[in-house]
């Protein structure tokens, strides 16, 4: 099954995967992680990717984000085709066009919160846009803690730093890998709120992998993966509608 274009939402595309396949191993031991997946992530849209473990949701995100290689098909970020890029160019692309939020926060313990936020720009050797930086910091509510080190911050605060880091360099697209997986529900809700605000108010594009229906409900659109294929899609989801769909898949999985 492939995606059906969604009427009424045809804006510019931030990232696109076409006929994307990822196959591990050969012959008997061959494992198909992604099976000719085609998907578009539109600008200023918040997309959640869901699916059971081993469905290929993380692999899809890694391939589209330029973190992993793929076997066939094509991935485009903006106008750039990823398949033809060397490691160095890919690194540069991630640095300039993509923001990341990880489950384990992944902040550098030696840097302060502010230094962590500006790290991608430091790596690029660019000066951050101060006004934008202030806006982002204001939004995630970290103004008072900029000189703290990660060890002095709570998990929620650390993930807010990570969100700010992803937003600060104004990437074309932000990928989140279970960004609320290590957080309690309140902190998780905060972080998801920031992500949604960044989409609504700042026009940011966000793609997030999650298995939490509540988290998925913050998104504009949820894509469901199973066995390396996109099996369904929900627009303007609620936690209940996502949960229902998940139950369906679960039942199907058991009967088939």
């Amino acid at each position: 099954m492939t995606t059906t274009p969604v009427a009424g939402r045809t804006t510019a595309v931030a990232a696109r995967a076409t006929e994307l396949s990822k196959i591990y191993g050969q012959g008997e031991t061959q494992v198909v992680a992604l099976d000719r997946v085609s998907v578009e992530f539109r600008q200023a849209e918040f997309t959640a990717i869901m699916g059971p473990s081993g469905s290929g949701k993380s692999t899809l995100m890694h391939c589209v984000a330029g973190l992993d290689t793929f076997s066939s098909g094509s991935v485009r970020i903006g106008d750039t085709e990823l398949g033809s890029l060397k490691d160095k160019q890919l690194t540069k692309l991630r640095r300039d066009k993509i923001g990341f939020i990880f489950q384990a926060f992944n902040l550098l313990p030696t840097l302060t919160a502010l230094e962590n936020i500006t790290l991608p720009m430091d790596i690029a050797g660019r000066k951050p846009d101060q006004k934008w930086l202030d806006t982002v910091i204001e939004m995630v509510g970290l103004s008072g803690r900029l000189s703290h080190r990660p060890s002095q911050l709570s998990g929620g605060q650390q993930q807010r730093v990570a969100v700010a880091r992803a937003l600060a360099s104004r990437p074309d697209i932000i990928f989140g890998d279970e960004p609320t997986g290590n957080l309690d529900s309140r902190s998780g809700a905060e972080v998801l709120g920031f992500l949604r605000n960044s989409v609504r108010e700042l026009g940011q594009t966000v793609v997030m992998v999650t298995h939490d229906p509540v988290a998925a409900a913050y998104a504009d659109r949820v894509i469901f993966l199973a066995d390396g294929r996109i099996v369904d899609e929900v627009l303007d989801p609620t936690a209940d509608s996502v949960l229902d769909l998940m139950k369906q898949f679960d039942a199907k999985g058991r009967t088939s």
Partner: protein, 842 residues
Amino acid sequence: MFRTALRNVLAHKARLAMTVLAVMLGVAFVSGTLVFTNTISEAYQNSSAKGFDQVDVAVTARHQDSAGDKVGTTPDLTQAILDTSAKADGAASAIGVVDGFTAIADKNGKLIGGGFRSEGGNYWGGKDPRYPLTSGSAPRGANQVAIDADTARRAGYKVGDTVRISVDGPVLTPTISAIFTTDDGNVAAGGSLALFDTATAQKLFGKAGTYDEIDVQAKAGTSQAALKSALDTALPQKTVETTTGKKLADDQAEQIASGMSGLKQGLLVFAGIALFVGTFIIANTFTMLVAQRTKELALLRAVGASRRQVTRSVLIEAFVVGTVAGVTGLVAGIGIGAGLRALMNGLGATVPDGPLVISPGTVVAALAVGVLITMLAAWLPGRRAAKIPPVAAMSSLHAKATTKSLVLRNTIGALFSAAGVAVVLAATTMDGSDGQAPMGLGAVLLIIGVFILTPLLSRPLIAAASPLLRGFGVAGKLARQNSVRNPRRTAATASALMIGLTLITGMTVMAGSLQQAIDKMAASAISADYMVSMANGNALSADVDKKLAAADGVTATSPLRNAASRIDGKTEFVTGVNGSVIGEMTDLAVKDGRFEVGGTNVVVDDDTATSHHWSAGSHFTAYFEDGKAQPLTVAAVYEGNALIRGIMLDDATLSPHQKKPADMQVLVKTAHGASSAAKDGLEKALGSNPAIKVQDKKDLSNSIAQVFTLILNMVYGLLAMAVIVAVLGVINTLAMSVFERSQEIGMLRAIGLDRKAVKRMVRLESLVISLFGGVLGIGLGVFFGWAAGQLLGTKMSTYELVVPWARMGLFLLLAAVVGVLAALWPARRAARLNMLAAIKSE
């Protein structure tokens, strides 16, 4: 539990290899030093050992001590004494021994065997039991000589060849009549031995009709003691002494042992340092190893292993690693010991030959270091490992670095350092030899203190380097922060390099300063162009001076002729010089009077003048070996130094009192100054004699400095080891840091740090740590060099501190190279890190 431990050892091959390598290096360092030490000391010991198989009782002349105005003399052992000895009750036969110095040249005219081991002697009669002939027949007359088999083999001589030899000046060209073997230790160690018939030997060695020793063999059934008492009755007690062969052997053993103690101590210090460095790297490695395994050990605890079991598993692992590494390290150490000797021989240092000595002590020490130290080193981290809460296994994060306060550690370190500095400073104010022990103690205290303090020092010192790192952008910034992240680990890593560089810098500073002091002394004391002397330090024959004086381009010569005299009831050695030219040959600071040597006028150095309460114009009387009195007047008091000191009087005044003049050196001044042509000319004038050294001032100071150069070379050899150890330590630390930070590195790669920058980050961290160790080591080394110089300075007026900046720069560069080299592999690993695995959420 044993199986778990064993599995652990085997499960992580790379880690195992690293640990074994570290322990092995430590053990190799220790055992290599011990093998080298033992081999050298045994070789030296053997080189001075002589067999006493042929000697039941030795008859020697009884030295007549100086008394009153009489100079001490040694009576001659005449033919009559030999004949009497041979006829004594119980005596089977008696051999008259004559010995002296004989240099043998190889086919290219070069001296065989380095000079001080060129011996000569007599071949007794038609068949000398001491020297079995392998070919040819006993030497007869002035034109025949026998040489030892080793020398013959080395130089390619065979019976019938003509050989150039020299005894005390003139070159002789006898024919080789025989080649013999001997149990003489000197020959076994690489020296040479030339034998003449007895009459020729007596004549050549200036002992016409006399012997140096008479060896008497007992008849079968006569004991050494019985023969000794028979000889005591037969011989005049006043002039001779008798000693049994057994006592000679015992005395010799004792004498050698005491002579060796200095060398042994020196080498033991090296072994001690080796032990320290070895222990240290092993402890370091194990600490890291256990830290790496936090999670694994916590899991063991979580599934029910007791603390003791965890500790034991770590200890068992240490035991296995220690045993394997101890054995391989011992083997490597033996190789290093052998290599070190070859290296020293290659560098021109004269190390006597001999078998490689692997004593049981070495084996025990190597295995003890390997096994015990490894286990001891693993004990502390093992205990720490046991304390890991089982919950650590559940946490996805690696155990955080202990943030335990460094206050206690810093306090102890500061106390040690302060005590060390205080003791060293106090020692510098002491007199030469008194200060040695406190200085050594202070140095050890200070090194330990600094070692303990390194974590504290790491922050400010590395911060000082940050402006340099800023140029490298984010990679530089991250490298700096990473290097101060775990101060204990950084400190431990840097210490290996620090110790090596402290040692080498201290020695270099001292040797450089000494070399300059010696150069200055040679330059300031002597204005002659050349100094001619015997290679072995023996006296030259008087005609060397005459030959030199007659050589082309020579404007003036003066012998430095040694003679004993009694002055005011004390023995004083006086120097006979050519009074009319000695003023031009030397450049001595005159403290009092006018520098004039001639007739009864003599010059005296300040120390001698002080001890006799003389000043310019003082009169005194000297009694020489002929017993005659010689009135003398002090014309001037000059400032003495290591090359020239004592009483100098005119040759013409001294010679009439001497039976056989003994010129220790001859000073030569040439028309056009020192040049290689002039030197060649002088050597030719002396008949290209292999036994005579013609040295200009530079050669002179070099030969004096040779002993320091030798030690320095040895220390450089040790440094090479220390550097390897340091590289390993840095690799270990970095590999572990990379491992611990794999998540961070993955994140950095994900958000856009490219491989090059990741590599650069690791390399810079390594560089910073290495330079930190280098700076500490060089700083400490300069301090020790200065302090030791203060001690030496009390003995040497021209000594002043010379810091060889170029060398120091080189050492720092070396530290940097260590850093870069050590980072090669870890940096590669970091750059190749699987980004996805690193950031994957668990």
